[in-house]
């Protein structure tokens, strides 16, 4: 099979690798090699499997296989009361339990038109932005890990993450599975002295970012491995429903914190970083720039945090009227939405999660075609998936 004919019909590579030229080898017969990467593979970010067809080292077809972590989240939620699902949302995207809580609480509050006190809204913003820092710093750590910088950048990221997890643990009682938010507010108020400690962590974070950027952003190997690799065109991104940093890296200005201005986000001036090319490097840089903006929001929120109650007038038994609702927030990975259908009872009739990881993963084949198999690992790393959310 020649090089040209080996490209599977119907899936023309949308991305032409720049700098490399496919060499026409007339008369040389090559066989496609099928490789199953995963579900246990050091680079697949959990139990994700990619069935790739390779011509030499070039990816000609990529078929994602998931479901290895399908834990019946939605089905279980339909069998229990509304509030009972709150701790299960922690386990969706286990890096960002706070934002998962918020998205679900937002959907519930929309169902019964519940007012959230101002202090609770501010604390939610603080928690969500801290979560964004945790998620992005871990993403960058794993991403550089995938590029071959084994260990060191990830250890730096883990070190910073621990500081923020301490804050979560102090406020909610758990490091990862916070279960902190409720319909109408928060479970408990911030403990005494929490804000001071939070301020210390947030103030120290830019220095860490400076150090990290100095090490990584202009590193020649990172530039060569990520620039012009896995270019996502804005048209494809919009058509495929990509959201979050991945969409913004392609140059589309769409951030739910600006568009929806849920909570009290309309009170904070912040910028939305955007990429130009939409390659892996842009996706990596957008996350680093977003962390800087998150720090800005955090500082404002902590300065303006009002006193007052943290819980609205939520009913003791959560029994929304029949109807359907879709509540969404800008999670660290993209638009995280909860679609709830109520039949008037205390259990949801339908409970559906709109997972940003899964939707962002749909363009994986388009990004990987024509690249080397080692680049497929990098591209997957830049998409930022968590299998708990992809498979649910």
């Amino acid at each position: 099979m020649t090089m040209e004919s080996s490209v599977v019909a119907g899936s023309e590579p949308t991305v032409e690798p720049r700098g490399f030229e496919l060499i026409e080898r007339e008369g040389l017969e090559t066989n496609l090699l099928e490789v199953s990467m995963g579900p246990h593979h050091p680079s697949t970010h959990g139990v994700f499997r990619m069935d790739v067809k390779l011509d030499g080292e070039t990816v000609t077809e990529l078929r994602p296989v998931f479901g290895y972590l399908h834990r019946n989240h939605e089905k279980l939620a339909e069998d229990m009361g509304y509030l009972g699902s709150m701790p299960f949302t922690d386990r969706l995207d286990y890096f960002c339990s706070m934002t998962n809580n918020w998205a679900y609480a937002l959907a519930g509050e929309k169902m019964i038109d519940l007012e959230v006190p101002e202090r609770a809204e501010y604390v939610r913003v603080i928690m969500a932005e801290l979560t964004r820092l945790v998620n992005h710093i871990m993403l960058v750590g794993f991403f550089v890990n995938d590029l071959g910088a084994l260990g060191t950048p990830l250890l730096y990221a883990l070190r910073e993450r621990e500081k923020i997890l301490d804050l979560f643990e102090w406020a909610s009682g758990a490091r990862m599975m916070c279960n902190y938010m409720r319909f109408g507010g928060l479970r408990n108020d911030l403990p005494e002295g929490w804000l001071t400690k939070c301020r210390e962590v947030v103030d120290a974070f830019p220095y860490f970012l400076d150090e990290y950027e100095k090490l990584l952003v202009e590193n020649e190997i990172i530039l060569v491995r990520t620039q012009n690799v896995g270019v996502l065109k804005p048209e494809l991104a919009i058509n495929a429903g990509i959201t979050g940093p991945m969409l913004r890296a392609s140059g589309v200005n769409y951030d739910l914190r600006k568009v929806d201005a849920y909570g009290v986000y309309d009170r904070f001036p912040f910028r939305v970083p955007m990429g130009e090319v939409g390659d892996c490097y842009d996706r990596f840089m957008v996350r680093i720039l977003e962390m800087r903006e998150s720090i800005k929001i955090l500082r404002q929120a902590m300065d303006e945090l009002p006193e007052g109650p943290i819980m609205g007038e939520a009913p003791r038994v959560f029994k929304p009227p029949a109807g359907e609702i879709y509540g969404r927030i800008e999670g660290p990975k993209g638009e995280l939405g909860f679609y709830l259908v109520s039949d008037g009872t205390a259990k949801p009739y339908r409970y559906r999660v709109r997972p940003p990881s899964l939707v962002n993963l749909t363009v994986l084949e388009d990004l990987c075609l024509g690249h080397k198999v080692a680049d497929a690992v990098v591209i997957l790393g830049s998409v930022d998936i968590v299998l708990g959310e992809v498979d649910r």
Binding site: P42, L69, N72, F88, Y94, L158, E162, R175
Partner: protein
């Protein structure tokens, strides 16, 4: 680990306990620069200090497992920092997270691929019993239905300190094992290379539902279904 009360041999924890020598001979030999020990003691000391875990994450618990390798908890202090991507190079399988019915065959296969002596830690509520997702149709109710588990860590997810504690518990168990002779209780030497049948996933359930060699359903109580799981 095995039950210490059933163990026929005494525990060989210290150098002097391990060999039957009278004190006079021992001190004379030590003066000449000779230390006498048993093969078991030296062998167990060496391998308990370098347990290499498999770099194998399943779900949320995997993140805490990675954290325990990070700088704050630093599993390297206990000789286990070398996370190997290949099961052929690993001694320890940490089942870190929910094992679904689709994933269970792969976990058993990975266990089969590991060389003896091998150990298993079931990390978190899901790996032990299914945890919060136990009622789900796609979740295996405990990995110990298919492979023998040495240490269980409760928690959802367990803290990194708990991971370190489980490793220390495992090391204690390793030091208690006897390799050679009549009292050998090391399954790697008694049973040879342990390989268990890989269950098949039919799209609905696993076949067989458990491995009777490893796990038996608890005694039947009233109101309990046939497969022993309420």
């Amino acid at each position: 680990m095995e039950d210490p009360s059933k163990s026929t041999t005494s525990e060989a924890h210290t150098l002097s306990d391990s060999v039957d020598l009278d004190d006079a001979t021992r001190s004379e030999m030590e003066k000449a620069g000779v230390i006498v020990s048993s093969v078991d003691w030296l062998y167990n000391w060496a391998r308990s200090g370098s347990v290499w875990p498999l770099q194998f994450g399943l779900a949320c618990c995997a993140i805490e497992m990675i954290c325990s390798a990070g700088s704050r908890y630093d599993i390297a202090r206990f000789g286990s920092e070398v996370f190997r991507p290949s099961p052929r190079q690993a001694d320890l399988l940490i089942v870190s997270g929910t094992v679904t019915k689709k994933m269970a065959p792969q976990v058993v296969r990975i266990f089969n691929q590991m060389p003896e002596p091998k150990y298993v830690i079931a990390m978190g509520a899901c790996a032990i019993s299914g945890g919060p997702f136990k009622q789900g149709y796609n979740v295996l109710k405990g990995i110990d239905r298919y492979i023998p588990v040495d240490v269980y860590i409760p928690g959802c997810p367990p803290r990194p300190e708990a991971v370190l504690h489980s490793l220390m518990t495992l090391q204690k168990g390793i030091r208690r094992q006897r390799t050679l002779g009549k009292g050998s209780n090391n399954p790697a030497y008694v049973e040879g290379n342990r390989e268990y049948p890989v269950p098949s996933f039919s799209g609905k359930d696993l076949d067989p539902p458990y491995n009777p060699e490893v796990w038996q359903p608890p005694e039947k109580r009233p109101n309990m279904p046939e497969d022993g799981c309420p």
